[in-house]
C-alpha cells in the first residue's frame, strides 16, 4: 500500500502529506468520515510515511510516499512495529465465568481465562485498552521517528476510558502522534476533539471508486463493480471487502432472486423468504468476518450478530426497490444500481408504481429500526417479506 493506492481523498491526502513535508505533525489527529471510507488505511500510510527509512529528505509534497520496502514500512504494514499500534473497539464474545481461574504456567499466578474479542454492534473501547495505551505511550520510542497510535471508532470510548485518554492528550509527548478515527465526532468528549486536528474524509465519488476497483480487480466484471460501487455509497473499503468475498456476491444474487420471486409470491413463499433473509444475514456475517472469530461470535451471541448483518441485507434489498422506483418514474435506467439485473428490473417495473416502491422502502426502514429495538428477528423478517409482496 501507499498513498497513491488510496482511492479518493485527494485533498485530504494532500493536507496530510504537506504536514509530513513540513514536519508540522500535530500531537493528535481526528479523522472524521463515514465508516469504511479509508480513514484507518490513510492513518497507516501516514505512519509509514513518517517513519519510512528511505523517505528521509523529501523536497516536494509529491515525494511524500512511503517506500513500502524498508523494514519500518514492512513492520507497520504487518502491524509488528514496536512504535505502532491500532486500538479497536471490541466486544467480548462468549460467556466468561469470572470464578473460573487457572494457574498461568508462565507466572504461576492465577489468571482469568483469555477473553476473546470481536468487532460488532455495541463494541467499545475499554478502559483497559486505554490504560495499556497510556502505559505504552509513557515509554521512550524504540526506533520510530514518530510513534503512532491509531484509535478507531474513538467515539466508542466510554466516559472512563475517554477521561483517562484525555489525560495523555493533555501531557503531550513530542515523539508521538495519536490518530483517532470516528464516524460520529459528536459522540466524542469535546475536550478530546478540541485537542485534535480534525481531518474530514468524504465518501469516495462513485466514478473514482469505480475506476479504482476496475483497475485493481480486473477479474471482476464491470457490471458487478458498478453495482457494488453504487451499493457502497462511497464507502470504498466496504466495496473492496465485498469484492474480495465471492460469497457476498452470491448472497446478493440470492437476495435479488428473492425480490424477483416476491413480486409474484404467495404467502408460503413469503414465510420461506423470511427464513431466507435470516439465513442470508448469517451467511453475510460469516462471509464478511474472519472465519474463526465469526463462527465463535455467531455461537456466543447469535442474535446480536444477526442483527448486525441484517442491516446490510436490508440495504441490498433497498437497492432493488430504489431501482424499481427509478424505472417507474421517467428518470431512465442510467442510475440503476443493479445494472446487471436491468432486464429483470425492467420486466418488473410495470408492476410497481412509485407508491409501491416507496412503501417497500418504508417497510425496510421500519425493519431497520426494529433491529435496534429487540424485535424478534425471524418474525420481523417474515413480516417484511409479507409486506414486500405485490398484492
Amino acid at each position: 500500500m501507499s498513498f497513491a493506492q488510496i482511492a479518493g481523498h485527494e485533498g485530504t491526502l494532500q493536507v496530510l502529506k504537506k504536514a509530513v513535508l513540513t514536519g508540522r505533525i500535530p500531537q493528535a489527529y481526528l479523522f472524521v468520515g463515514p465508516s469504511n471510507v479509508g480513514k484507518t488505511l490513510t492513518a497507516v500510510e501516514l505512519a509509514k510515511a513518517l517513519n519510512c527509512e528511505t523517505l528521509t529528505a523529501p523536497e516536494t509534497v509529491d515525494d511524500i510516499e512511503p517506500c513500502d520496502q524498508c523494514s519500518s514500512c514492512v513492520r507497520i504494514e504487518k502491524g509488528i512495529h514496536p512504535d505502532f499500534r491500532i486500538v479497536q473497539p471490541l466486544t467480548r464474545i462468549g460467556a466468561i465465568d469470572d470464578e473460573e481461574t487457572e494457574a498461568d504456567p508462565v507466572t504461576g499466578e492465577p489468571s482469568k481465562k483469555k477473553d476473546e474479542f470481536v468487532q460488532m454492534e455495541g463494541a467499545e473501547i475499554r478502559i483497559s485498552q486505554v490504560r495499556e495505551l497510556i502505559e505504552s505511550a509513557s515509554l521512550m520510542t524504540n526506533q520510530a521517528r514518530r510513534r503512532m497510535y491509531i484509535i478507531t471508532g474513538a467515539e466508542t470510548m466510554n466516559i472512563a476510558a475517554a477521561n483517562a485518554f484525555l489525560k495523555t492528550l493533555e501531557e503531550p509527548s513530542a515523539a508521538t502522534t495519536f490518530v483517532l478515527t470516528t464516524a460520529s465526532p459528536n459522540d466524542l468528549l469535546p475536550t478530546i476533539v478540541s485537542r485534535c486536528q480534525v481531518v474530514n474524509f468524504h465518501p469516495v465519488p462513485a466514478a473514482v471508486a469505480r475506476d479504482f476497483l476496475v483497475s485493481r480487480y480486473p477479474e471482476v466484471s464491470a457490471e458487478q463493480i458498478q453495482s457494488i460501487v453504487a451499493m457502497s455509497s462511497g464507502r470504498i473499503g466496504w466495496a473492496i471487502k465485498l469484492l474480495q468475498q465471492p460469497d457476498v456476491l452470491q448472497i446478493r444474487s440470492d437476495l435479488l432472486d428473492l425480490c424477483v420471486r416476491l413480486a409474484a409470491a404467495d404467502w408460503v413463499e413469503c414465510l420461506r423468504g423470511g427464513e431466507l433473509l435470516v439465513d442470508a444475514a448469517e451467511r453475510w456475517w460469516l462471509a464478511t468476518n474472519e472465519e474463526e472469530i465469526a463462527e465463535k461470535a455467531l455461537k456466543a451471541s447469535r442474535d446480536r450478530v444477526l442483527r448486525t448483518s441484517m442491516g446490510d441485507i436490508l440495504d441490498i434489498l433497498a437497492t432493488w426497490f430504489r431501482d424499481l422506483l427509478l424505472l417507474s418514474s421517467d428518470a431512465g435506467a442510467d442510475g440503476l444500481i443493479n445494472m446487471d439485473r436491468a432486464e429483470q428490473l425492467r420486466d418488473l417495473a410495470g408492476r410497481y408504481d412509485a407508491k409501491k416502491c416507496e412503501a417497500a422502502c418504508e417497510h425496510l426502514q421500519r425493519m431497520h429500526a426494529q433491529l435496534g429495538q429487540n424485535a424478534n428477528l425471524r418474525l420481523a423478517a417474515e413480516n417484511l417479506a409479507l409486506r414486500l409482496i405485490v398484492t
Binding site: E10, N163, T191, H202, H368
Partner: protein, 603 residues
C-alpha cells in the same frame, strides 16, 4: 457518472408543491444543511432584512464540479438519486441539491463553487428558475450560495411573510439549532452586517450553548448522558433556575438531525417533576444516537417531527437520562439517603412508582433492577422465571411507599434473621421468617461500617505528599478552591497557591493513598467550579467514606464464627439500606418459601 442525478417524478412533485421553501428560515435551513452535507468545517451565514433581501451561506466544504452545479440548479436534481426514503444515502450523501431548484424558482440565486482539486470556481446565476449566466471566477474551495429577493416573483407568497424582526428570529433560530446539532462545525451568522452568533467548531456542545445563551446562562446547563447497547442520549439540560414559558428551547437531535418530539419534551419535563416553577419549562439540548450506523431511517429529512419505533422506551430512557443528570448535579436525590426496604421483582417490571411527584419508574431503581437481574449469582439459581425476589431501594421521598416498607421492615426485624451457616467463606446463609436469605459478607460489612461512620463526623485522615501535585486551574476553578479551602482541607485536600492560576496539592485523604488521586481531585474541583454545588463536597465525603469502609471491611473468603455472622446480620438490619452496598451492588438475595416450593415442584 455525475454525482448529481435527476430525481424521480414522485420526489420532484413534492418539491414542486413547495414543501421546501415556505419562508426565509426554510431557505437558511436547506442551505446550511447542504453545507453540512458537503463536509464543511466552517459555515458563514449572512442575512439582510430577516432573510427577505439576502441569504448568503458560504462554506468550505467539498464544492461541486461545473457539471454538478448545472445539474444542481435544474429543477428536481439531487445527488441522492431516488426517493427521500432511500436508505443508504441517508447515511452518507444527504440531500444536496434538492432545495436549490426550488429556491431558484422563487428567488434570485447565485452559486459559486470550487472543488479542492480545481483551480477555479464556477459561478451560476439563476433567475426565475432559468439559468441566467455562467462564468468562471476566482473563489476559495467550497460553495457560496447567495439568495436575494426571495419570492420576488411570487407576490402572493411574499405577502405572507412576517415582519423583518420575526423572520430574522426564525432564521437565527434555525442557525442556532443547526449549530447545536453540529458543534464540530464553526458557524458565523451575521444579520445586517452585525454578528449574531459565532461558534468555534472546537469546544463541543457546551461551547455552542455558551455562544447561544451567553456564558452566564450556559453555566446553568447541566451535562447528562445515558448509554444503552443501542441508544446514546447525551447533552445538556438547564438547571431549574433557568426556565422558559414554552418548550421552544427544548432541542432534540436524532443522529445529529434536529427533530421535534412532543414525547421527548414530555419526558424531559417529567424528569424535573416538582423542581420546576409552575408553568415553566426547562431548556435542553439533547442528542440521541440510535444504532452504531448512525442511521435512523424513521427520521424524515424534510419533516422534523420524529416518530420512534418504540416511543415508550425512548421516552423512558430520555427521562432516566435527565433524572440522572439532575441527580449528578445534586439537584434531586437518587441516592440511598433514607431508603426503606422494599421488594422488587427481580425479573419482572420495575417497581410501581409511588404516589407523589414521581410519575415514572426511578431511573436509579430500574438500573439497579437490571443489574440485579444480570447478577451471575441470581442467574445461576434461576435463569428466567419469576422465582426470585431481590431487595432494592425504595423511592426516596415516596412517603406512602416508605411507610409501607417501614412496616415491612419492622415485621422483618421482629423476627430477626437467623444465621444458618456460611457458604464458601463468602456468603452468609440466613433465614428470615420462612424466607431464605443469601448475604454477601464483604458487602454487608462494608454497609455496616459505612453506617457506623456516617453516625459520627469522623475526621478524615490526611496524608501529606512528598512531591506535591502541580495543578493548573482556570480562574473559576481557582476561585472554587479558594472559596472551599476549609471544606476541602476537612476532606484531606490541602492546596497552596503557587503563582497565577497554579496551585500545589500538598495533601490528600489517606483513603486515596495508592489510587489515582489526581483524577479524583481534578473531578472534584471541576465540579465545584462548574456547579458551585456544596453537594459536590458531600458526595466526595460519602465516596471517601465508602472507600475507607471498603478497605476496612471483612473480606470475602474470611471464615466467620456463627456469632460473628449473627452480629453482622443484625448490624446490617440496623442500617439504612441493608440491601445495597455502597457501590450499588446487591447485598442480600432473598428466596421465599413459595419460590422454593415451586422449584421443588410442590405447589
Amino acid at each position: 457518472m455525475s454525482n448529481i442525478q435527476v430525481l424521480p417524478e414522485s420526489v420532484a412533485n413534492r418539491i414542486a408543491a413547495g414543501e421546501v421553501v415556505e419562508r426565509p428560515a426554510s431557505v437558511v435551513k436547506e442551505l446550511i444543511e447542504n453545507a453540512i452535507d458537503a463536509g464543511a468545517s466552517r459555515i458563514e451565514i449572512q442575512l439582510a432584512a430577516g432573510g427577505k433581501e439576502l441569504i448568503r451561506v458560504i462554506d468550505d466544504g467539498s464544492g461541486m464540479s461545473a457539471e454538478d452545479l448545472r445539474l444542481a440548479v435544474q429543477r428536481f436534481a439531487t445527488s441522492k438519486i431516488s426517493a427521500a426514503e432511500d436508505l443508504d444515502s441517508i447515511v452518507t450523501m444527504g440531500f444536496r441539491g434538492e432545495a436549490l431548484p426550488s429556491i431558484g424558482a422563487v428567488a434570485q440565486l447565485q452559486i459559486s463553487t470550487r472543488q479542492q482539486d480545481s483551480a477555479e470556481a464556477h459561478r451560476i446565476t439563476v433567475r426565475g428558475g432559468e439559468v441566467a449566466g455562467e462564468e468562471t471566477v476566482a473563489a476559495p474551495v467550497g460553495t457560496d450560495v447567495e439568495v436575494t429577493h426571495l419570492f420576488y416573483n411570487t407576490p402572493a407568497r411574499e405577502k405572507f411573510l412576517a415582519t423583518t424582526a420575526t423572520e430574522r428570529g426564525h432564521c437565527i433560530e434555525w442557525c442556532q439549532r443547526l449549530a447545536l446539532g453540529r458543534p464540530d462545525i464553526a458557524f458565523k451568522v451575521l444579520h445586517d452586517n452585525q454578528t449574531v452568533l459565532t461558534t468555534a467548531g472546537q469546544g463541543g456542545l457546551q461551547a455552542v450553548i455558551a455562544a447561544i445563551h451567553g456564558s452566564n446562562d450556559a453555566r446553568l446547563f447541566l451535562p447528562m448522558r445515558l448509554e444503552t447497547e443501542d441508544i446514546t442520549i447525551s447533552g445538556f439540560i438547564s438547571s431549574p433556575r433557568l426556565t422558559r414559558a414554552n418548550r421552544r428551547a427544548q432541542l432534540f437531535f436524532v443522529n445529529n438531525r434536529f427533530v421535534r418530539s412532543s414525547s421527548l419534551s414530555h419526558a424531559v419535563t417529567a424528569a424535573y417533576g416538582m423542581l420546576l416553577p409552575s408553568g415553566r419549562q426547562p431548556l435542553c439540548v439533547i442528542h440521541i444516537t440510535i444504532g452504531p450506523n448512525a442511521v435512523d431511517p424513521n427520521v424524515h429529512p424534510t419533516k422534523i417531527e420524529v416518530r420512534f419505533g418504540n416511543q415508550g422506551r425512548i421516552h423512558g430512557l430520555c427521562q432516566q437520562a435527565v433524572e440522572a443528570g439532575l441527580a449528578e448535579a445534586g439537584l434531586r436525590s437518587l441516592s440511598t439517603s433514607r431508603p426503606g426496604l422494599s421488594r422488587t421483582d427481580a425479573t419482572g417490571a420495575p417497581p410501581q412508582p409511588a404516589a407523589g411527584r414521581w410519575d415514572g419508574p426511578l431511573p436509579d431503581m430500574s438500573r439497579r433492577a437490571v443489574r440485579l437481574r444480570v447478577n451471575p449469582f441470581v442467574d445461576s439459581i434461576d435463569a428466567r422465571d419469576d422465582g426470585l425476589e431481590v431487595f432494592a431501594d425504595a423511592p426516596p421521598d415516596a412517603a406512602d411507599q416508605q411507610e409501607a416498607d417501614q412496616s415491612a421492615l419492622q415485621a422483618e426485624a421482629a423476627q430477626a434473621p437467623q444465621v444458618l451457616g456460611q457458604l464458601s467463606g463468602r456468603y452468609i446463609i440466613a433465614q428470615a421468617g420462612t424466607d431464605l436469605l443469601l448475604i454477601d459478607q464483604h458487602r454487608a460489612a462494608e454497609r455496616v461500617l459505612l453506617h457506623q461512620m456516617g453516625d459520627k463526623t469522623t475526621p478524615v485522615a490526611r496524608q501529606l505528599l512528598a512531591v506535591p501535585l502541580n495543578l493548573e486551574l482556570t480562574p473559576s476553578e481557582a476561585a472554587a478552591v479558594e472559596d472551599n479551602a476549609e471544606s476541602l482541607l476537612e476532606l484531606g485536600f490541602e492546596f497552596e497557591e503557587f503563582g497565577p492560576s497554579a496551585y500545589l496539592l500538598r495533601s490528600i485523604p489517606a483513603a486515596l493513598v495508592g489510587r489515582d488521586y489526581e483524577t479524583a481531585v481534578g473531578d472534584l474541583i471541576r465540579d465545584l467550579a462548574q456547579w458551585q454545588a456544596p453537594s459536590s463536597l458531600e458526595r466526595a465525603r460519602d465516596e471517601l467514606a465508602a472507600l475507607v469502609a471498603c478497605h476496612g471491611a471483612i473480606k470475602a473468603g474470611t471464615q466467620l464464627t456463627h456469632a460473628e455472622m449473627q452480629r453482622l446480620v443484625e448490624d446490617l438490619a440496623a442500617t439504612d439500606a441493608p440491601a445495597v452496598c455502597p457501590h450499588g451492588d446487591p447485598i442480600i438475595i432473598a428466596i421465599t418459601a413459595s419460590q422454593l416450593d415451586s422449584k421443588f415442584k410442590r405447589s
